[in-house]
């Protein structure tokens, strides 16, 4: 850094500008992997100890680790990768962050500006490739614009509906010099999301809630993204109204699962009580959820009799698949505060008699005990493994990530969350391989906490190399594999939709996960029968290094309840013993 007459605009190289902007934005950790086109930034990083760099083993892992960091802290995650393959490897992570609305700033190296378009070594059209899977991206072609772009990148990633952004940095821009400018409070010229909800709409919503006979809160990841204050206000509103509440996969933890008003997960593998309540409610209060197809099932048959209130910060989420009656564009925390204010101002009293029939109905649904399973003998039922994991970690400060598949749904059903930001899972994109690198990012953010990746043996192999990252930084993450040797959810769908023709869903050759853990320098544990389960989990927690637990479970277990494709919420399959449901031709087309 050279001296400059104007101390507030010091002269720096592009690489130094990048690092200074990160420091000024409050970044203390970045996840990355070096390469030719990003060497100047790495060189600038070498001189700074304010920023901790976590060296991953694959760029996809860098983005998932940054996602885990972001989701468990509420702060944006930062990624630094090189051009070409570095950027393309990051794409899966970016798409994942896009669909789950996670704030990520991904800095990519690029070939020098004069080489762009010449098919240079490790050149890829990064802004072209990442355009549909980022909220916004920038190719920096003038170093003078770099400080503003860096600050805009943080603004765009974290304001409105959060999401990933990419800043593509040609190598010559990293060497070129410009005056640095710090962050401003001006925001962005065009991008100014609406945060406060329309007061008239909020009055209408509260009036509808006050008159509801069969109300239901349906909440989602928007509550988590709006910060801990949103969760506190949600709890207050739910208590004040006495209404039942369900949540999407993304929203787990915003409302405590131990509370009697909590109905459990909603959607394809949601509880019987949640889905029937969604179908039969007369007023649905959607806070920060997006009527995702995993939640709605057949939209033609979705909650036919309800008046629908939808609170979302993204106007494009409103009326996208389900037409609603009272749309409210705004941040969940603000709108919940406004709803509370109106409810209190109007002195609306909780009238238990008004909802007595509704709660009685809910209790009859609950009595079906839809998450029950039979743990007989020594073959471990996967649900039992999750239940024991939950029971034995209850007094710990625990964060859970998952991979994608049956184990993910069992975790969502059987692990109970009391706090937001404790549950990190790939919801929208359904990215196998998410959980292990996410656990790395979570453990970096919460060094003293118990971080468990509830995994499947197929998913975890997709990003297994990040065990090496966990070793390098002494991250005692626990990878708890429910090993059924199948891609379980694929196998389940083949059983239901393709006459048990298990085409390529069985993994013939799996590694010995205990030896694999040893090879990485971690600790491996194998659990083969029910009697070994508790001791295995205790051992996992006792070892202060990365642990791979290979928990062998029932290969045939299916994840129930389930709304089959093309069916309505009140047409659930509860168990293997149910009459086999004929899946419609239309349903087979759906994923």
């Amino acid at each position: 850094m050279k001296a400059n007459k104007d101390a507030s605009h010091p002269r720096m190289t592009g690489a130094e500008i990048v690092i200074q902007a990160l420091i000024d934005q409050g970044v203390d950790v970045i996840f990355g992997y070096p390469g030719g086109a990003v060497l100047p930034v790495y060189d600038a990083l070498f001189e700074h100890d304010q920023i901790r760099h976590i060296l991953v083993r694959h760029e996809q892992g860098a983005v998932h680790a940054a996602e885990g960091y972001a989701r468990s802290t509420g702060k944006p995650g930062v990624v630094l990768v090189t051009s070409g393959p570095g950027a393309t490897n990051a794409v899966t992570g970016l798409a994942d962050a896009m669909l789950d609305s996670i704030p990520i700033i991904c800095l990519t190296g690029q070939v020098a500006t004069r080489l762009i378009g010449s098919d240079a070594f490790q050149e890829a059209d990064t802004v072209g490739i990442t355009r549909p899977c980022t909220k916004h991206n920038w190719l920096v072609n003038d170093v003078d614009t770099l400080p503003k772009i860096m600050h805009d990148a943080f603004y765009v990633a974290t304001h409105g509906r959060p999401g990933p952004v990419v800043v593509d940095l040609p190598k010559d821009i990293q060497f070129a010099e410009a005056d640095y400018t710090g962050p401003s409070n001006e925001g962005h010229r065009n991008y100014q999301p609406q945060v406060k909800g329309d007061p008239d709409k909020i009055e209408q919503a509260v009036a509808a809630m006050a008159n509801a006979r069969r109300p239901l809160f349906y909440t989602g990841g928007g509550v988590i993204n709006a910060g801990p204050e949103a969760s506190r206000r949600l709890r207050e509103l739910v208590q004040l109204t006495g209404f039942p509440i369900t949540s999407t996969l993304m929203g787990l933890g915003a409302y405590p699962a131990s509370d009697p008003q909590w109905l459990g997960l909603v959607g394809m593998h949601g509880t019987y009580e949640s889905n029937n309540a969604m179908h039969d409610c007369d007023v649905m209060i959607n806070i920060g959820a997006r009527f995702d197809d995993r939640v709605t099932g057949n939209i033609e048959k979705f909650s036919p009799g309800s008046k629908k209130i939808h609170v979302d910060i993204d106007p494009s989420s409103i009326n996208k698949t389900i037409m609603v009656d009272i749309p409210i564009v705004g941040d969940c925390a603000h709108v919940l505060a406004a709803m509370l204010e109106v409810w209190k101002r109007k002195k609306i009293k909780k009238d238990p008699s008004m909802h007595r029939d509704w709660w009685q109905q809910i209790d009859t649904w609950r009595a079906r005990n839809c998450l029950s399973y039979q743990q007989k003998g020594q073959v471990i039922q996967p649900q039992y493994a999750i239940e024991r994991l939950y029971a034995l970690t209850r007094d710990k400060d625990v964060y859970i990530s998952t991979e994608v598949g049956q184990h993910q749904m069992w975790a969502a059903q059987h692990f109970k969350f009391e706090q937001p930001n404790r549950w990190m899972t790939s919801g929208g994109l359904g990215t196998m391989g998410y959980g292990l690198p996410a656990a790395v990012g979570i453990q970096i953010a919460h060094p003293g906490s118990l971080v468990i990746d509830i995994a499947g043996e197929a998913s975890v192999l997709m990003t297994m190399q990040e065990m090496s990252t966990a070793m390098q930084y002494d991250l005692p993450i626990k990878i708890f594999i429910l090993n059924n040797q199948y891609m379980g959810m694929v196998r389940q769908w083949q059983e239901l939709l393709h006459d048990k023709r298990y085409s390529h869903s069985y993994t013939e050759a799996l590694p010995d996960f205990v030896k694999l853990a040893d090879a990485y320098g971690g600790h491996g544990i194998r659990i083969t029968c029910a009697d070994e389960l508790d001791a295995g989990i205790q051992e996992m927690m006792a070892v202060d290094k990365p642990v791979l637990v290979d928990c062998m479970v029932d290969q045939q277990a299916n994840c129930f309840p389930m709304i089959p494709s093309g069916a309505a919420h009140n047409e659930m399959i509860l168990s293997d013993q149910d009459e086999p449901t004929e899946i419609s031709e239309e349903g087979k087309m759906l994923v």
Binding site: V127, G128, R131, P132, K135, H136, L139, N141, V156, H188, R189, N190, Y191, I299, E300, D314, P315, S316, I318, N319, K320, M323
Partner: protein
């Protein structure tokens, strides 16, 4: 509920920051989400503010069209999205260059019809004309269809430009 909605034609004006890649963002949104583009025009309209105006004619159900506008509004370089069909009484114009080849009676007839449409002859040889014609898209369609049996060679159309009637903006 959505299947029964009829398809409508809409003209949408989008004011955007004139920066690299902005058109790709808009077009990528249409192709990525399966929206239709019937015509598209784009040009800078305010060099000082680096603002371009994109005019897109699309069709779809009312629900799709509302979704399309909301998605456009989400793009960071987009300043404003205006539905010229629904929110304004607007005028639409398009320009066409039409090449017709022929001799004798057909050549005379094409010239006579061009006069009726108030088209300009902007290039000619002994056996061809290039007509320049401005008007509503349907007027251009009618003219092109009339030229077809008279020796139509090529058509180049600008796509629709639209502006609101009256003294207010857009």
């Amino acid at each position: 509920m959505m299947k029964d909605q009829p398809s409508e034609r809409r003209c949408i004006a989008i004011l955007v920051d004139n920066e690299a890649g902005v058109l790709a963002r808009v077009i990528g949104l249409f192709s990525g989400r399966g929206y239709n583009i019937d015509s598209l025009t784009v040009s800078e309209v305010d060099p000082q503010k680096h603002t371009s105006r994109i005019t897109i004619v699309s069709n779809g159900t009312a629900m799709i069209l509302e979704q399309l506008k909301a998605q456009l509004g989400r793009l960071v370089p987009v300043q404003k999205v205006v539905d010229m069909t629904l929110d304004h009484d607007s005028v639409e114009r398009e320009l066409a260059l039409v090449k017709v080849k022929g001799t004798g009676e057909k050549r005379v007839e094409s010239l006579r019809l061009s006069d009726a449409f108030r088209a300009q002859v902007i290039d000619t040889t002994h056996e061809s004309f290039v007509f320049e014609l401005t008007g509503s898209p349907s007027k251009l369609d009618a003219f092109v269809n009339l030229m077809r049996p008279l020796g139509l060679v090529d058509v180049s159309r600008s796509g629709v430009a639209a502006i609101a009637r009256g003294s207010e903006g857009m």
